[in-house]
Symmetry: C2
Subunit: 264 residues, 2 copies
Amino acid sequence: MASPQYRLVYWPGIPGRGEHIRLVFEETSTPYTDTATTSDGLDRVLAYVQGNVPDDNINPPPLAPPILQHLADPNNDTNVTTISQTSNILLYLATHLPPGSIAPDPKTDPNALFYLNSLALTALDGLSNEPHDCHHPIASGLYYEDQKPESLRKADNYVRVRLPKFLGYFERVLGSGASGGGKWLYGGKFSFADLVLFQCLDGVKFMFPKAVSKYEREGTYAKVFALYQAVSERPKITEYLKSSRRQKYSDGIYRYYEELDIEP
Amino acid sequence: MASPQYRLVYWPGIPGRGEHIRLVFEETSTPYTDTATTSDGLDRVLAYVQGNVPDDNINPPPLAPPILQHLADPNNDTNVTTISQTSNILLYLATHLPPGSIAPDPKTDPNALFYLNSLALTALDGLSNEPHDCHHPIASGLYYEDQKPESLRKADNYVRVRLPKFLGYFERVLGSGASGGGKWLYGGKFSFADLVLFQCLDGVKFMFPKAVSKYEREGTYAKVFALYQAVSERPKITEYLKSSRRQKYSDGIYRYYEELDIEP
């Protein structure tokens, strides 16, 4: 059996931004290797982060994980496309996996990828980057313990103002004609943007359970929560979420701090 | 003469994220309208931001500007593609403007767009979003005056740690074989990623002149500053920067506050 053509390079031990890529591979049954599960995983991530990966004269060096390596020939390490940035990797996979599996075929809907990319970027902005900054508002290089009062102020604003803004936005997208019925974000069909929204909401639920459970109870964002449920019930996703490959949240983007778990 | 096919919807009065799109139009002599210069500009932006633009059943509603409208027929308002998110608009333009004008032709270099997208996203992360958060670390909905001590802490970390990290990263990209000689970021040819890096650095220079001038003097990031100079000397860009269409920095992403202008 050939080795997988796709390799994910991401910090072991946290779902993090790598999780969006994993969900795509799992949903589409695409074989991949993952530094989260290899013994040299951390070293391979650090080599990139520290700039110690030799220049291959083909791929611009990435700054940070997630990093995707795509081998033209799984048995030949010298012909590899290496790209980074979460939304960029998703876009790359959407154009390389079978058309229709995570995005409409560009031949029949040439704008779809741009719509999906925009939805994914917006979910990552408001439901991944901003939650991260709620425990690191001053500097990602300092400890949470060094920025606790600032974190509390930011988290308070986040659960009261920002989170409903983004939930309301996606509810509006699901209520628009472009969503094609309101089950999925675009065109009446499941796509990678739905996976991104699912994963972001899953992380926010872990980090701010009181706020999310209140907003879910109130019913204002019913379509968003229904989408979350529908993604979790896709057979491949259900299976993955129960597997040992699904890592637990810990000290990554989504963290549980009791003092930040504010009831809005 | 036909009306322009492209319409930029962005906050009037600041260069902001819209500026990356303007630079592409200016560099390629692509006609466009701009809410920065129309009398109803602010109203049109607010209609989107407040969710008051009627559902067209085709385009998912955007959350925030910059928003690009692309008219299939300049004289017919009913066939319009509407997309948002800065990097997404740049990618859309790269696939719709003449091949080679702001990105290599995908037919000869199918990976180029993904490389350029990743470079643009990284510049926007570290040299646009992070500077913005230096004056709004707690909440974008609060005034700077309500988050001054936190801003000072974040700006201090930014100029000492984050700014050199990102300058160093782009210096490394320019020193890699993939840059094709180190004048431009990728493949030895000018691209929209160079415009993004130019505009980001221009904003950071405005906001943190002491830090940028120190890093420029030290010579560690010589290729980055040479790229900045080379972009500014492109004839169309030089002409644009001198024109009244180039808006001044004020209360947008890049702001000058003396107390944040820290010498690292």
